[in-house]
């Protein structure tokens, strides 16, 4: 069928509808924030009582736009783990799904497909640049911007599922991508207003004006509608008529700074976000429970943040709960479906993560011949039977921290900072692994080193001791790495009570490295400082012997801080120890710098 033949009836319908003439319902003055009218409009709205997919099959479905040589649209039944259908389609916008309709901009115009088999039901010519398209399963709503001169016009046009134009509202100001729900169309206007329209006629029923922040993001589920901005989310209920955060059911979350670029939804006014883009890989994933008259309530008191390959479970206050690291490939789409967070990766992998724990409750693979560019996830209420095994948070965070992708430095910083707050030997072991890995970026390395010191976790001491076990070996070209950092971390345990056996083991390991000829001076200093910190005097005999042996060695004398630390530690001992220090200070063969340090250590002010 030629394109002309397909679009002919649509164009005719448009002409007929145009006979009625487009209405201009948008303006700067209106009866905004009228609680009575908003209440009446919402009373007319038909919404489901429980979360469920918007599609007529009631199945958890994913609609994936596939790029590459053969562009396709794949409808995938996540519950069954198999494709519902696959059609050739050059998808150029988000896919909107509701009832029996699957709608998206494709090459040449907006295409309405049948949910059952993906076949084309109608094609709609676009009289301008697409701003957004949506459907409520009965009608299709398209916003376009026509004219690029001084007086552009935005139009919200409603079509039947068969492509007949039903009504058109024009606007002299910017309209955002609309959403539709239960007989209402929600149309954002100039980022300041949310027009609530009768879906059947296009008539404006009421209008909400944002007093505290702009209105640029919209979301509907089977049970509720929300609007808001990058700053937060308003529930569209009676209280929304106040237009203010204080008066409305308003929620906002506090994100760690490393994740703060994530958004609650898509910017309805951004033409880039009319299609799938990198914005879909950096999102706050959330749901909200209905509240009778109370404040905004995030479902389960948890949200998640999708950040490229990673998903973090957080409290609304930003406290870390769990992490998921997707192997190798980026997650290009994600949605909070209630019980699970559903995400689709660029290679077609689908995962369903338990919203409370991050456990992988389901996974599947879309058979695609090219990269998945983006996906619309219509899986609300889906609860896979497998409860999944709660992942090791430490492992997930460590995996993120070790990721080789240089784009994620901030996220790695966040991962290690989060790890460091967790308790347990494994955490220290993973942090040490990062410190000794030469591939760890310098900034991250330094952060981890500082965190290791700040942890002061005695349960991590075995991991630190193990890190000292690597011996220098010319034959195998092996050299211990991270001695300074490990030394500092052990030294930080000086004020912590350690089991005697662990203390002895740590001291032996420290001595072995500190006094190995291959150990560089800066590392020796930190190792000796650690020895002094945890030794509580037991290190004195060894330090004394080293002092005696090296006191005349210019190489040792050049390690000024080490000399000071050692002489002070020995001088802090008993009379016999001080006698040795006194002798070093006085003997002609002692290097002058060592003798001076010994003399200084004997002064009362230098005694601890």
């Amino acid at each position: 069928m030629s394109l002309a033949r397909v679009f002919a009836p649509v164009a005719l319908a448009a002409v007929l509808a145009a006979g009625c003439g487009p209405k201009t319902v948008y303006g700067l003055s209106s009866d905004d924030n009228n609680a009575e009218r908003l209440g009446a409009a919402l009373a007319k709205r038909a919404v489901a009582k429980a979360d469920a997919p918007l599609n007529a099959l009631g199945k958890p479905l994913v609609f994936a736009a596939v790029g590459g040589a053969k562009k396709q649209l794949v409808a995938f039944d996540a519950g069954a783990g198999s494709a519902l259908w696959t059609v050739d389609a050059d998808v150029q916008s988000r896919v909107a799904v509701a009832g029996e309709l699957v709608v998206a901009k494709e090459a040449g115009g907006v295409v309405v497909r049948k949910l059952a088999d993906g076949s084309v039901r109608a094609k709609l010519a676009l009289a301008g640049e697409l701003v957004g398209v949506t459907t409520d399963g009965e009608r299709v709503y398209v916003v376009v911007q026509a004219g690029t001169g001084p007086k552009p016009v935005w139009s919200l046009i409603a079509y039947s599922g068969d492509g007949s134009q039903l009504w058109q509202n024009d606007s002299p100001g910017a309209l955002g991508a609309p959403v539709a729900q239960g007989g209402l169309v929600l149309s954002p206007f100039l980022k300041q207003w949310l027009a609530v329209l009768d879906a059947r006629t296009g008539a404006q029923l009421t209008r909400v004006r944002g007093l505290d922040e702009e209105i640029s993001e919209l979301r509907v589920t089977a049970t509720a509608a929300f609007f808001g901005s990058k700053a937060g989310v308003f529930r569209l209920d009676d209280k929304a008529a106040t237009g203010s955060r204080a008066g409305a059911t308003y929620g906002t979350v506090t994100l760690p700074k490393e994740l703060a670029t994530a958004d609650y939804g898509h910017d309805a006014f951004d033409p880039v976000q009319a299609g799938y883009s990198a914005f879909d890989r950096r999102r706050i994933l959330w749901r909200a429970d209905p509240t009778a008259d109370g404040p905004f309530r995030w479902s389960g008191e948890l949200i998640a943040v999708h950040f490229f390959r990673f998903v973090f479970g957080l409290t609304p206050a930003g406290e870390f709960r769990w992490a998921y690291s997707h192997p190798r490939v980026e997650l290009v789409a994600s949605e909070h479906a209630g019980p699970v967070i559903v995400a689709v990766a660029g290679d077609g992998t689908l995962v369903a993560l338990d919203a409370a724990t991050g456990a992988v409750r389901a996974s599947a693979k879309l058979e695609v011949g090219g990269p998945v560019l983006g996906a619309t996830i219509d899986c609300d209420g889906w609860a896979p039977s497998d409860a999944g095994e709660a992942p090791s948070t430490v492992t997930a965070l460590a995996t993120i921290a070790r990721d080789r992708d240089a784009r994620f430095e901030a996220i790695k910083q966040y991962a290690v900072a989060t790890m460091a707050k967790l308790e347990g030997a494994d955490v220290t072991r993973d942090l040490v692994a990062l410190v000794v890995d030469p591939r760890t970026p310098i900034k991250l390395h330094d952060t981890v080193a500082d965190l290791l010191v700040a942890r002061k976790d005695p349960t991590g001491l075995p991991a630190l001791i193990d890190a000292l076990a690597v011996r220098p070996d010319f034959l195998t070209n092996t050299q211990p790495v991270g001695l300074i950092e490990v030394g500092r971390a052990i030294g930080a345990l000086g004020g912590v009570s350690l089991p005697e056996a662990e203390q002895a083991r740590a001291m032996a390991a420290l001595e072995l490295q500190a006094f190995d000829p291959a150990t560089a001076a800066p590392a020796r200093l930190e190792l000796v400082r650690a020895l002094i910190a945890i030794g509580h005097g037991r290190e004195r005999a060894r330090l004394k012997a080293e002092l005696v042996q090296y006191r005349a060695d210019p190489g040792f004398a050049a390690e000024a801080d080490l000399v000071v630390a050692m002489t002070a530690a020995v001088a802090a001992g008993g009379p016999e120890d001080r006698e040795v220090v006194r002798w070093i200070a006085a003997d002609a063969r002692s290097h002058p710098a060592v003798a001076a340090a010994a003399q200084a250590a004997l002064q009362p002010a230098s005694q601890p």
Binding site: Q479, E579, R589
Partner: protein
């Protein structure tokens, strides 16, 4: 004080070497003996701040065949002196160290200064031949220490050190090559020859040359094989090795290996 310091340093030896504690050195009186060494003068020099004079004194005392003359040097070793003095004293003790000297020497086999460490290792291994210490020292990052260890391994014909020496051979270390050359039997010679193309030609030539110049090395079949391997190596080291072999190999009875070596030298006259 002296006893205290000796005890301190001997404690260090026991800790550092992680070996069973050795008996403490008996306190011996310093006896000045008439003759070549003026012990009193040397002792005074050792206790002074003049490093050059102390080093000279250490060499005199350590080189004395009279164990009693070592005592002031051992005191110096036990109480810490300048590395130059240590090197002089330890080097001098290499040929004269007694069992009781070894504990003081042992304190320096893991010293941080490479020259001191190498000198201690030479003195220690020549006297006592601690295989573990020698093998351990082959893997340290200080080249002089590795060289001393390789030398000891070759002298001790320490077969347990062969794997390490082969690695060093591949890394181009001549002391390891000489050690292998000093200890190789027919089987080891073949193993070393198999490193053709892996080890640098010059180093391999040194190893094979060292084998061929040992009068007892044989049988003739392996000598022929080594000469043929040398003939495949580039560089003057291979020619030096062949020349060295021709010099020590008897003319009679005639040896095929010598004839082939001479032929190679003649053919490669232009290589020099």
């Amino acid at each position: 004080m002296r006893k205290l310091l000796v005890a301190i340093l001997f404690g260090l030896v026991a800790t550092a070497s992680a070996q069973p504690a050795r008996p403490a050195a008996p306190a011996r009186p310093v006896r000045a003996k008439p003759g070549k060494v003026d012990v009193a003068k040397a002792t005074a020099a050792l206790r002074g701040a003049d490093v050059a004079a102390a080093a000279k004194a250490a060499a005199e005392l350590g080189g004395s065949p009279d164990p009693a003359h070592h005592e002031p040097l051992l005191d110096a070793l036990a109480t810490g002196v300048h590395p130059d003095v240590l090197v002089a004293g330890l080097t001098a003790l290499t040929g004269t160290a007694t069992k009781t000297d070894l504990q003081a020497i042992g304190a320096y086999v893991r010293y941080r200064n490479g020259a001191v460490r190498a000198a201690a290792l030479r003195a220690f291994s020549k006297s006592i031949g601690d295989p573990t210490l020698v093998i351990e020292s082959l893997s340290v990052f200080d080249a002089p220490v590795r060289a001393a260890a390789a030398e000891a391994a070759g002298r001790m014909k320490l077969t347990a050190a062969v794997p390490a020496l082969l690695v060093l051979l591949d890394k181009g270390e001549a002391p390891a090559a000489l050690a292998l050359g000093a200890m190789a039997d027919e089987a080891l010679a073949r193993t070393v020859a198999e490193h053709l193309g892996v080890a640098p030609d010059a180093t391999l030539a040194v190893a094979l040359g060292a084998m061929l110049t040992r009068l007892e090395f044989g049988p003739e079949t392996i000598r022929v094989d080594l000469v043929r391997t040398l003939s495949k190596l580039s560089g003057v080291e291979a020619l030096d090795a062949l020349e060295g072999y021709v010099e020590i190999a008897p003319e009679n009875p005639p040896r095929q290996s010598r004839r082939e070596a001479e032929a190679v030298l003649k053919a490669r006259q232009g290589d020099r």
